[in-house]
């Protein structure tokens, strides 16, 4: 799979660029603190809301802190939340989805109806409720967002599993007397991996949007710790004084999500079994 993805990446510039952007963002998330040219938390009341200068390449925020440094460390909490949330949603959602498609009728009824009901809430509302009453931090955000995306994953795993179970090799497995464990791990999982991988990329993007949305509202990552969404939310109050303050984090955030979406789209095409057999 990986070899195939890389081979196709070479022939598609947009995909290649997106992968590069993603790699850069991940690098930033890991090494941002070392890359930061100045202390991201150092307040300087004499240099508030400044534009670009030799000292502050991207200017300063409302407390005179260096924007570039804050941007560099601002992706780490977002990425941690997004990856943690996707891991939680991916593991539990996939298992529930498979059980919903392959389990006994009462179990699948229970699971899929619960999934339907969970899906009838917009995720941001539940997240709002949860972080509004709980303390908010990287861990709780990851858990809350992860739980909220379990039903989405379950839906995808469910329909993919249903498609697999309709194939004759599932009957062949049963006719040979295969155990449930064998059926799930050798017949179902490898065959639904492609849609799950695609769903994982989409969930990372959605989790980033959700986290940054909450932070934008002031309910996510708690200041003075920065996150891009939170910086955009704060910068909105200084649109007239320092328009570039809002532009930089917006640009970075949009670029990151765009890169993930392009990768997800391409992966969907590459992994689509209908397109694989030529």
């Amino acid at each position: 799979m990986t070899a195939r993805v890389l081979r196709i990446a070479r022939s598609q510039p947009a995909f290649m660029v997106s992968l590069t952007v993603l790699a850069a963002v991940i690098f930033m998330a890991i090494f941002g603190a070392w890359l930061a040219p100045q202390d991201p938390f150092a307040i300087n009341p004499s240099a508030v809301n400044q534009g670009s200068s030799a000292q502050h390449w991207l200017g300063t925020d409302e407390f005179g802190r260096d924007l570039l440094s804050r941007l560099l460390i601002g992706i780490q909490p977002t990425m941690l939340v997004a990856i943690g949330a996707t891991a939680i949603a991916g593991v539990f959602g996939s298992l529930l989805g498979i059980a919903g498609a392959y389990g006994r009728p009462w179990l699948s009824f229970l699971i899929m109806r619960s999934v339907d009901i969970m899906l009838s809430f917009p995720p941001i509302l539940l997240a709002l409720l949860a972080v509004g009453f709980w303390e908010s931090g990287v861990l709780s955000l990851a858990v809350v967002i992860g739980v909220l995306y379990i039903p989405h994953f379950a839906r995808v795993a469910h329909s993919a599993t249903l498609q697999v179970t309709r194939q004759e090799f599932m009957e062949a497995e049963r006719a040979m007397g295969a155990s449930v464990r064998r059926v799930v791990f050798t017949a179902i999982l490898p065959n639904i991996l492609s849609p799950l991988v695609v769903q994982a990329t989409l969930t990372v993007a959605a989790a980033i949007l959700l986290e940054s949305g909450l932070s934008f509202l002031g309910l996510g990552i708690v200041p003075p710790e920065p996150s891009w969404g939170q910086m955009i939310g704060t910068a909105r109050g200084y649109l007239a004084q320092n328009p570039m303050y809002v532009i930089w984090p917006s640009l970075l955030l949009a670029l990151t999500v765009l890169a993930i979406n392009v990768v997800g789209d391409r992966l969907r095409d590459i992994l689509d079994p209908r397109l694989r057999e030529e």
Binding site: S120, F121, G213, L217, L219, G229, L239, A240, S250
Partner: protein, 325 residues
């Protein structure tokens, strides 16, 4: 009775029942969330730091009905909610329902305005891209759509404020004016939030319109129509579009449901006094009855919209309308 009418009736009944059950479960969840949340709501309300007197705690407890058994509380709450009585706001004692009823139409108005913007932009672009698959036009349109779905609504909104309000001064940056007071001002203030919400949605509607069009264009019957010598234009308008309309309408309807989520951020950033603003305010103020009322209203709206979409969808498609066993 005509079996097809009977089938349609049965379908409607079953969908209504499902929606009702869904609403009931949602209500139960909303009720129980208050108990799952860590900490004593009463202490949270009074502020644990201020060390409230036991009398104050007890009176607050009975005011909220928290001194009764949980089941009694639950059924009382449910019964009242059925009568649109969600209790009174903790901050000023006004009934929650009056807030909900006042804010609900504003959220709906914003959502509908956005969906109209999104449909008017998204559907034609999606069709245009699908009809020239693989062309330059298709590539450009799909790229724009991908960018569109990637830019978060609050970034788009902020940039629009920066441009249209601060730089050009054409439109007010935020706020709300009642339509009865000033019609022009009302719509001027609606414009930016509706556009911000609508653009992102237009992108996803365009993408999905394109893929449903391509799916229909690849079907055997389109080839059969060409073999009959039907002009391409007529194949598209008469057959492909009408077949594609079914999934497209569904997509738009489902997006309308998802918009309830999108309105949260947009209402907050444009100070649009809708349900989400109400909810965000209530969450920050720990105003439990108001939170419950607003949540239930939003969820109910979502469920009702989805129900309407599904019913409309089944009436549109003869395969579902006529045969359902």
């Amino acid at each position: 009775m005509n079996p097809s009418i009977a089938g349609a009736l049965l379908l409607v009944c079953r969908k209504l029942l499902t929606a009702f059950v869904q609403l009931l479960v949602v209500a139960t969840l909303i009720f129980s969330v208050m108990y799952i949340m860590p900490g004593d709501p009463v202490l949270l309300l009074l502020g644990a730091e201020s060390n409230p007197s036991p009398e104050a705690v007890a009176s607050m407890r009975s005011q909220l009905g928290l001194d009764q058994p949980v089941l009694t509380q639950y059924f009382t709450w449910l019964w009242n909610a059925l009568h649109l009585d969600f209790g009174n706001s903790l901050t000023n004692g006004y009934p929650v329902s009056s807030y909900v009823l006042a804010n609900l139409p504003r959220t709906l108005e914003l959502a509908f305005a956005a969906i109209i913007v999104a449909t008017l932009i998204g559907v034609p672009l999606g069709i245009a891209a699908a009809l020239k698959r693989g062309s330059m036009r298709d590539t450009v349109l799909t790229s724009i759509a991908t960018v569109g779905i990637s830019v978060p609504v609050y970034i788009l909104g902020t940039l629009m404020v920066l441009f249209f309000s601060i730089k050009l001064g054409w439109l007010p940056a935020s706020g709300y004016t009642d339509i009865s007071r000033n019609v022009v001002e009302h719509f001027r203030k609606l414009a930016l939030p509706a556009l911000a919400l609508g653009f992102g949605l237009a992108a996803s509607i365009a993408r999905m319109t394109r893929s449903s069009m391509l799916e229909i264009l690849g079907r055997d019957f389109v080839r059969a129509l060409r073999a009959k010598g039907m002009p391409e234009r007529r194949i598209i308008w008469q057959h492909v579009l009408r077949n594609a309309a079914i999934p497209i309408v569904t997509i738009i309807g489902l997006q309308l449901g998802n918009l309830m989520g999108g309105t949260v951020l947009v209402e907050a950033m444009f100070n649009w006094p809708g349900l989400s603003t109400l909810l965000v305010g209530a969450v920050s103020a720990r105003n439990y009855p108001l939170v419950q009322g607003a949540m239930l209203a939003i969820a109910a709206l979502f469920i009702v919209i989805n129900l309407a979409v599904e019913l409309f969808y089944s009436l549109l498609d003869p395969r579902i309308r006529r045969k359902r066993s």
